[in-house]
């Protein structure tokens, strides 16, 4: 854990410094484009974490591995946070640049549906008392929701949207200047490590709650109490 935090900070601080200070302003958007350094990594994480949640959910369903179930549900809240950040920062970027906080185009709407999927997963898990049953129900919901992931990614290609097309994941070379790209990649990596830290935190408490009647948790509780 301390190592993860150190790596996270070693990526985050140069990323922030590069993104907010070193990177030049954009030729069209001036300094407002600096929101990209949290908006885009958050949006990537929202998709990535959803896939982790769905795949670990499927592993839990098929092989009945408890650890996979715990990883799956622990990812949900972190993923929901990143989706929320992507939506809010996108809105704060859209107002000065597009001229509106929100539009119902395909990209924005499908990302909002992703937030609802995450919230559905969290809500459903909380509503079922038997946590092994809850994990199964949640995994099925998450797996059905996987169809939304390619829709989000390709929405800007398949339909006319106000949101612009992909910059970094284009097949040819990314259409972002290298001085702006490096902080973006640093931030994206930093967010990956943040996810690891956050999901381990969540998984620990989830494991404790599930195993509260087992001997090792009881020993831990009484040791902690002294």
């Amino acid at each position: 854990m301390p190592w993860l935090v150190i790596i996270f900070l070693l990526l985050l601080l140069p990323g922030l410094y590069g993104g907010l200070y070193l990177a030049p302003p954009d030729y069209q958007q001036g300094d407002s484009y600096r929101i990209i350094y949290i908006h885009v990594p958050s949006a990537w994480m929202s998709l990535f974490i959803y896939m982790v949640m769905a795949v670990t959910g499927a592993i839990g369903l098929i092989w009945r591995i408890k650890l996979a179930e715990i990883m799956s549900i622990s990812s949900a809240s972190v993923g929901a946070c990143f989706t929320f950040i992507a939506l809010v920062t996108g809105s704060l970027w859209g107002k000065p640049m597009w001229g509106t906080w929100w539009v119902w185009d395909a990209r924005l709407t499908s990302e909002l549906i992703l937030l609802f999927l995450y919230l559905g997963v969290i809500g459903l898990y909380g509503a079922i008392d038997d946590k092994r049953m809850a994990s199964k129900a949640v995994a099925i919901l998450a797996l059905v929701g996987v169809v939304n992931i390619p829709i989000i990614h390709y929405s800007v290609v398949w339909w006319n949207t106000l949101h612009q097309g992909p910059t970094v994941t284009k097949m040819d070379k990314p259409s972002i200047h290298v001085s702006m790209l490096i902080p973006l990649l640093l931030m994206a990596l930093a967010f990956k490590f943040y996810y690891l830290i956050a999901v381990i935190q969540r998984a620990r408490i989830e494991l404790l709650t599930r195993e509260r009647n087992s001997q090792w948790v009881k020993t831990m509780v009484s040791e902690n109490d002294q």
Binding site: L20, Y21, P25, G30, D31, S32, R34, I35, I38, H39, S42, S77, V78, C81, F84, I85, V88, T89, L92, W93, K95, P96, Y194, I197, A198, Q201, R202, R204, I205, L208, T209, R212, V217, K218, M220, V221, S222, N224, D225
Partner: protein, 51 residues
């Protein structure tokens, strides 16, 4: 570039700093909540064991 210019963000200070601020809050809360949940869990279970 002066400090003032840096914080002004070319006139987009409100949008840029609100974004970064909100992100910071959400990310910190996400880490802190499980720590509290853990403490609360340990307290509750300790009470249960004493009964």
């Amino acid at each position: 570039m002066s400090m003032q210019e840096f914080f002004a963000m070319g006139g987009y200070a409100f949008f840029v700093w609100t974004s970064y601020g909100l992100t910071l809050i959400v990310l910190v809360v996400n880490i802190v909540v499980p720590v509290f949940q853990r403490k609360q869990f340990l307290r509750q279970q300790a009470l249960k064991q004493k009964r």
